[in-house]
Subunit: 788 residues, 2 copies
């Protein structure tokens, strides 16, 4: 069992005892004995107090302080008490021989270490007074000292009350940056009883009503319109909106999804694809949550491949209208949020057709229901039915049959059609237009990635706090051990905590870069990062919530632990806003093409040229010394971590390019060639995401000014890096990037890092800053009672 | 895209064409042309029929058959048609040159391959007649032959209708052995509308009522008492009971858990811990589902560490009674199935105390409710509350306060107390007694492992069938591709299918061995295997259901897919009946101690001796040639697979023994030493389970008599083996058990196996034999309509 009180950096053992209270040092052992479990009666504590009050070699101020600490009816707080314990343990370890030391001796030694009497000890009278007191209260000092050295770690609750080596608030500020005030606003809002979680057995209908009320309240509070222009009640800052979304996701996930549908997808489609007139007309009411709407893109047969959507919008020149149609019964819109019950309008994505000529997928404003809530003529809506989770969201299926909307219902920022039926667009290429349109999904992907990480953080908060309290098994005859003190338990939880930290920094940096893009910037790098991090974060959430559930055992299965709820709701995060596997394949293709263009748009020769560029890059030899270096300093070196992650990504890129080139050179169809190397493409995309996270994490660590905090974060980052290298060590070994002994040393080092981070594990999740009201977990509450 | 029509084993290409219908061989190309999409009109088909009817060189029987096949109003069934296609493809590939062959020529070649005319071809008049017919119907034979060779694979639905190379029924029989008839009985029973799934929004109360009715019906049908003696309505065969349990688990998991509580845990505790009188009195009513009861072992603070249960049963000599007490409010029984609502009695596990002396944990028969359902005096019961899943089971918390039961309420097989308060037991050691008592859980562990595998099979059935129908993306301008044809999709599903096969064989063998144990056999090997396989199977279920959900995309999130339900319900399988991590640590300790005794019972010297035995074993050098051999034959060699799995387990065992020995030699506390090597212990336990599964799988393959079937299973087993080696290749590389090139070749070989198994993927899951009524999945039904 690791010593949970050991400082993170063992070098501090050689520094002065920080916690040692100068003047009271000699009597510290008596203060400890007075309050140690069951050692003294209240009456005996009173005796100690009276004796010490009479020791006039102590300063008056010290005596007053000691008397206050020895009031039998008012024990010191846990933080103070464990401060004494920590100090005495540190001191006792430095004694030339702890064997045989009594309380008076320990007190004298403490005084020496505290610098009293220039290390020459305390006055002889003082020493005598202490010895008398020791005899009077009848404790065997040697035993006390020995117990002190061997005592089990203080219970987690009390340990937490003790001052950590850094401020949890400061750590939370790092995670909250750069929109701490927006996050705090959400935390405050959602802590209101109005947002209290419903009972678990709630009907879908009542749940939807509740979630709708919540969403509308957020609209009233101006949260929904954060990303909109100021004239629409917003701040024009998409990054602030994403921060709000991310924080909402520490609460009920039906709320965050319905919120995202209304303000992000529906409102976002108007904001980003609409012309000035459309935006002025609709955005303010959308932002206030008054005009509820849907984003009708996915179809039954086309969830991922939206370029081939089947819904048509055909121009009727006579009527000056668009005619929206669902060609067959199977081509209906599917999973459309806000459609089954609440939506009044929708942005419907359809193939724009004029005189039999298709211009590709475009968005159209289509009313779904009238003022009274009746579905409009020609439209059929069905409920998507009961789901694994997110049953507070009214997903629906929509069919269109000869539904007519005015010519001006075409969202007009990137396309317009004249009354004569002449199509025009500022973007001439249909392919490019399609990608610009899909670009509207990028903000949603970043937000979903961040929300997934919030769900992961919530689950890990519950599991780490519970693990720090739950006792099970223990040494023969001894007390049971807190389960987080088991290596197996640390192994399952702490690397996930580290990954949530890394994703936090990477997603926040991405949101800022996304918000900073100007209108004609090349968006592909940001889009690629969004796809990579959305995949990684949502898979991370699935894994973290699974581990959290299992780590809490049966308690994690209880609804009131609020892991089940988050697990079921967030499961679909790996699928919606872009299926993770499809996104990863896009990421890999983007890396191969240098983000120049989707491969489908290239002919074989164009593709070959790019692949050749990639495959021709030579990778230098790896330094044979580095390959065999098992020194701890080397293993913990951030630069080495970065080299490994970069090298892996680059090598995979070159290898997959060479494979593709080989296949296409010999005449394979490019589609088949890509299918055959899919496993390599997925590996490449994963390596890319993990490298992005490492870089953002390391950059964040570098920016920290407080040394203690920076040290903790550096270790957390090293845990992220090494645990990921360990998981993929098969690849590194195959490629000779390091040898077997290094691989084994990495495993040992991961274990060592777990031991070093264990003492601050609870602080690491406390810094996620999830209020108890939002966490909603009985076993995970921050202010939980002590285990009996 | 892999060629889905390639035979599984290329060597069969050199064997006779099994499907070639002898006499009709020469006209086969015309039969094909007649029915191939859009090639001939009904009138032209009539012409072909009339011409062939006149070919008197054909036998009369063949001509009648051909005429039947060429009835324009009655097309042949898909199975027949695709049989022709397959035969001709095989034949066309063997032609010296397919280029330029016309229909007549192909027919002649077919006849030759079928052995007509001793390979000398068909009569010249016949050849002429065929040429004339070819000219008359006006098809270009060369094109037909070329299309035939290049034709895309038949649509999945039609391919499935075609006769596979082996019988799905025969494959299912292998999986069902040795209790096929019991399984079929359950399948029939549960296919009755009485067992139809409830609506998803059902209240917990209604759900519990439904599940209770189902359990009682199974009791009436004699399913609950299968393991009991014949006088109690059973067969005395625990393995048959486990088979029933496993099959039930392909349906609603609340049912199987409540069934397990009633008949396995409650009834099982009476059967195994009760004396003859207690068994005669209670078992028949329990088995019929009339006397509902609970198994009250777990406590809030003691879910895993049951040796330290807090509930006490104190002997009151005066009253000749036991007094059952829950010492503090926190020591209540927790998660007790059947307790919250339905249970009338319980086996309560408590510390047996006589005159202040404890004799360890024992089971006591305690009435929970009276005839009217009122809770008995001194007992307090609360509902365990809403759960992630299994809400059809009434789990409860139970407190006892001065609850009195007669002296004879002590379950009396292994312990009894005389009226004078003298304790006696046939097992003198308290530690041994404790393990014998825990042995009652072993059957439950095997059953839970098998049930977990059933849940995994159900999820995989849904995902594989759906993946074989769902189309998404495709080559430019071409049709969209069935997603199961993507390597990435095969990668996520097929290895899991292979693992379910392996677990199936391993768990069935284990159930047989368990059932065959006689009363005084050493049970530790079987207990160790049960712990290892329960852990592996339940984690496998969690993973398989997660992958199944994701592989089905949004459709998998729908309740009607019936993945959500299984996922939520089975999540706790990794925790109950022994937490997986705790079980794995026990497995590892068992391996270290040669199953001699739990380590806690050994003193440091005893432990050292065992560790030394293990650590002293020398592992021979690995053959350097084998380390570098990348030949396919070597990579697919079952003996090599077994060597790798055995070597890994043995090496891990020796290494962890050496580590422990080092720590204990230097004076570490044994508890701390074990905690420090926990990660190694868990790795060892995993390696052990995977080896057990490989062995059982290979043994099962060896026993198969049908060559085609055996070949398919051998490839499935190789996929299991190599994919597990690939996942753990980091370890194998670290240990120099193979080199980097072999590691890469393994990955390539896994991909090749996926391609070879893809064509039978649907048959592999069909053979799990889950009727649509039990599967309960809209998208996973076996008789699903073709995708439009």
């Amino acid at each position: 069992m690791p010593d949970t009180t050991a400082p993170l950096d063992s070098s501090t053992d050689r520094e002065p005892l920080a916690d040692l209270p100068g003047g009271v040092a000699p009597v510290l052992p008596f203060l400890y004995v007075a309050w140690a479990d069951g050692m003294l009666t209240p009456a005996e504590i009173g005796v100690v107090r009276d004796r010490i009050a009479a020791m006039d070699w102590l300063s008056e101020r010290d005596r007053a302080q000691i008397a206050a600490w020895l009031d039998p009816s008012a024990p010191p707080d846990a933080s103070t008490y464990f401060g004494w314990v920590r100090t005495m343990r540190q001191a006792a370890r430095r004694l030339p021989s702890a064997e045989g030391a009594d309380l008076a001796g320990l007190g004298e030694a403490l005084a020496g270490l505290a610098g009293q009497g220039d290390g020459a000890g305390i006055p002889a009278e003082a020493r005598r007074a202490l010895e008398e007191l020791e005899a009077e209260i009848g404790v065997v000092g040697e035993e006390v000292v020995r117990d002190l050295l061997e005592a089990p770690a203080p219970p987690e609750e009390e340990r937490r009350a003790a001052r950590p080596a850094f401020s949890v608030g400061a750590l939370q500020s790092l995670l909250d940056a750069p929109h701490a005030e927006t996050r705090d606003r959400i935390r405050d809002l959602l802590s209101d009883p109005f947002f209290a979680y419903p009972e678990p057995g709630i009907s879908n209908d009542a749940y939807r009503t509740l979630i709708l009320q919540w969403v509308q309240r957020l609209g009233e509070e101006g949260i929904g319109s954060l990303a909109y222009p100021e004239w629409a009640g917003g701040t024009g800052d998409i990054s602030r909106f994403i921060a709000a979304f991310e924080t909402l996701a520490t609460h009920d996930l039906s709320l965050v999804v319905k919120f995202g549908v209304q303000f992000g997808l529906w409102g976002g489609s108007v904001q980003q694809l609409g012309n000035e007139e459309q935006r002025r007309e609709l955005l303010p009411a959308i932002g206030r949550g008054e005009l509820l709407g849907a984003f009708a893109m996915s179809e039954r047969g086309h969830g991922s491949n939206v370029r081939d959507l089947q819904t048509t919008a055909t121009f009727d020149r006579e009527a000056d209208e668009w005619v929206i149609d669902t060609p067959t019964d199977h081509d209906h819109k599917e999973w459309i949020g806000n459609a089954a019950r609440d939506g009044r309008m929708a942005t419907v994505f359809a193939q724009l057709v004029i005189d039999g000529e298709g211009h590709g997928v475009h968005g159209f404003l289509v009313p779904l229901r009238d003022e009274g809530g009746a579905v409009m003529p020609g439209i059929r809506i069905e409920d998507s039915g009961h789901k694994m989770g997110l049953n507070g969201v009214d997903n629906g299926r929509v069919w269109f049959s000869d539904v007519r909307v005015p010519r001006t219902a075409l969202l007009g920022r990137y396309a317009s059609v004249s009354p004569e039926g002449v199509y025009s667009s500022p973007i001439p290429s249909a392919g490019k237009r399609f990608f610009v349109m899909l670009g509207t999904l990028v903000g949603g992907r970043i937000a979903v990635g961040a929300a997934a990480n919030s769900a992961a953080k919530a689950g890990l908060t519950v599991a780490v706090r519970y693990g720090a309290r739950r006792r099970q098994f223990g040494p023969a005859g001894g007390p049971e051990v807190v389960v987080l003190d088991y290596l197996s338990h640390q192994r399952r939880l702490l690397p996930l905590v580290a990954t949530s930290y890394g994703l936090n920094f990477a997603l926040h940096a991405l949101a800022e870069d996304f918000a900073a893009l100007d209108a004609d910037a090349d968006t592909r790098e940001v889009e690629g990062r969004a796809a990579a991090l959305k995949s990684m974060a949502s898979w991370h959430a699935t894994r973290a919530l699974q581990e959290a559930r299992e780590a809490c055992g049966g308690e994690g299965f209880r609804w009131s632990a609020r892991i089940a709820h988050r697990k079921a709701d967030s499961d679909i995060f790996t699928t919606f806003e872009g299926d993770n596997t499809v996104l990863q394949l896009q990421v890999a293709k983007g890396l191969l093409g240098g983000y120049r263009q989707e491969f489908e748009d290239l002919n074989a020769w164009g593709m070959l040229r790019y692949l050749r560029e990639q495959a021709d890059v030579r990778l230098g030899e790896v330094n044979p010394l580095a390959r065999r270096n098992t020194d701890e300093a080397h293993l913990l070196d951030p630069a080495w971590h970065r080299t490994l992650f970069e090298r892996r990504e680059r090598t995979l890129l070159v290898q997959v390019a060479a494979r593709l080139k080989g296949r296409i050179d010999r005449g394979d169809d490019s589609f088949d060639a890509f299918v055959e190397v899919q496993d390599h493409l997925l590996t490449l995309a994963r390596a890319n995401a993990e490298r992005l996270v490492l870089e953002a994490f390391q950059d964040a660590v570098e920016r920290v000014e407080d040394a203690q905090l920076q040290n903790t974060l550096r270790l957390t980052c090293a845990l992220y890096a090494l645990e990921h290298v360990e998981r993929d060590r098969g690849w590194f070994l195959e490629q000779n990037l390091f040898d077997g002994p290094v691989s084994k040393a990495i495993r040992t080092q991961v274990n060592a890092l777990l031991g070093r981070l264990r003492p601050v594990a609870v602080e690491l999740v406390d810094a996620f800053g999830i209020p108890d009201e939002l966490l909603g977990s009985e076993i995970g509450a921050g202010r939980m009672p002590l285990d009996p």
